[in-house]
């Protein structure tokens, strides 16, 4: 039982970490000399990386929507962790961890919105370049948060406090 609990906690923690890396690191789209994202653009000139502003032709509304929903995913997942720990101590026997599941589900929804908007709007015509690790981690954390929320919805509290 304790092993199961530790595993679920670790899964939740991993999804938070992946979400944070995807949100903070500027690496959604990369080329050989550029690593760009939702916050800034890193350009490699003469062997050193320098931080630049994102180009002004980026559609501002979509960019800020991606920023907002990835931040919201991080917030909801972190809140969900605290809710899970709280529910561990306050739930009575036989009840489900619905609140934690709801928070993880909302986080899953938010990061899905962010990654979908980014996939559909940005870098559609650029042929040289590939999706960077932040983008991939965003989709992986979508999967993790989804699995985590399903587990919370199914799990019942076995031992009474």
């Amino acid at each position: 039982m304790l092993v199961l609990l530790a595993g679920i906690f670790l899964l939740h923690l991993t999804s938070i970490i992946l979400l944070l890396v995807a949100t903070i690191d500027n690496a959604w789209w990369m080329t050989k000399t550029m690593s760009t994202d939702v916050w800034a653009r890193w350009i490699l000139t003469n062997g050193t990386w320098s931080s630049n502003d994102l180009p002004s032709y980026y559609p501002q509304e979509y960019l800020q929507a991606v920023q907002a929903s990835s931040i919201l995913a991080c917030i909801f997942s972190s809140l969900g962790l605290f809710v899970f720990v709280g529910q561990l101590f306050t739930l009575s026997k036989g009840q489900r961890f619905t609140f934690s599941g709801i928070f993880q589900l909302i986080a899953c929804l938010c990061i899905m919105i962010a990654a979908s908007i980014y996939t559909d709007i940005f870098h559609k015509k650029e042929l040289d370049g590939w999706y960077g690790h932040s983008f991939i981690l965003a989709w992986i954390s979508f999967a993790f948060t989804f699995i985590s929320s399903i587990i919370y919805f199914v799990l019942r509290k076995k031992t009474a406090n």
Binding site: Q64, A65, I75, G94
Partner: protein
Amino acid sequence: MLTILALASVILLGIVPQQSEGIVIYTGWERHALVGSDIRLSCSFFSWRWTSDDVTFSWSYRSDGARDAISIFHYTGGAPYVDNKGPFRDRLEFVGNPGRRDGSILLKNLDYGDNGTFTCDAKNPPDIVGRASSVRLLVFEKVPIQAGVITGSIIGAVLGLLLLIVVIYYFMRFLVARRVFNLSVSKHGKKGKGKEGSQQRQGPTLSIGDPSKLKAAASEKKKQESRKDKK
């Protein structure tokens, strides 16, 4: 002892204003405007002295591509003098109030050529030592959305909605608990008066409330029993 204190305070009072003497001029940092619109460039100052009658304001303009600045406005001796030969002739108006330390000007019908830096310099004799302050003017075809406005509003709206839902949930729980409490109190309170009458009156409400509660209690008991059996 007292005399020493008095001397010290006089010396301090004498020193402090001299150190803080000097005029501080305030303008904006950057202004955005649409082509064809009007814009008010504000300029005001802080000075330890009273506003004198010889207060002067002067505005100068340096275009983005130019190297030097040209003077476009001067207020002195109680009268404003606007640009009548330069790029702003017939487009500049003085809308400030020098008595209230406001030396703002109004630029009308902006064009892309008006992009540049506007510098305001104010003097309040005898307080004349100070640094002029500059404001950059940017003229756009369409005012761009400031970075972070949409982001912040989306995050704020969603978190506010979450807070609202939590508050409503706990409020509903509080209401239901209070209703149950009121019912149980009134049931116990009216036992003495007559069971049948009180039960008849409270019959409908109790029957709506009770069966679900009884069912919940029964299912809980069943679950606990099944768990005990499993163990």
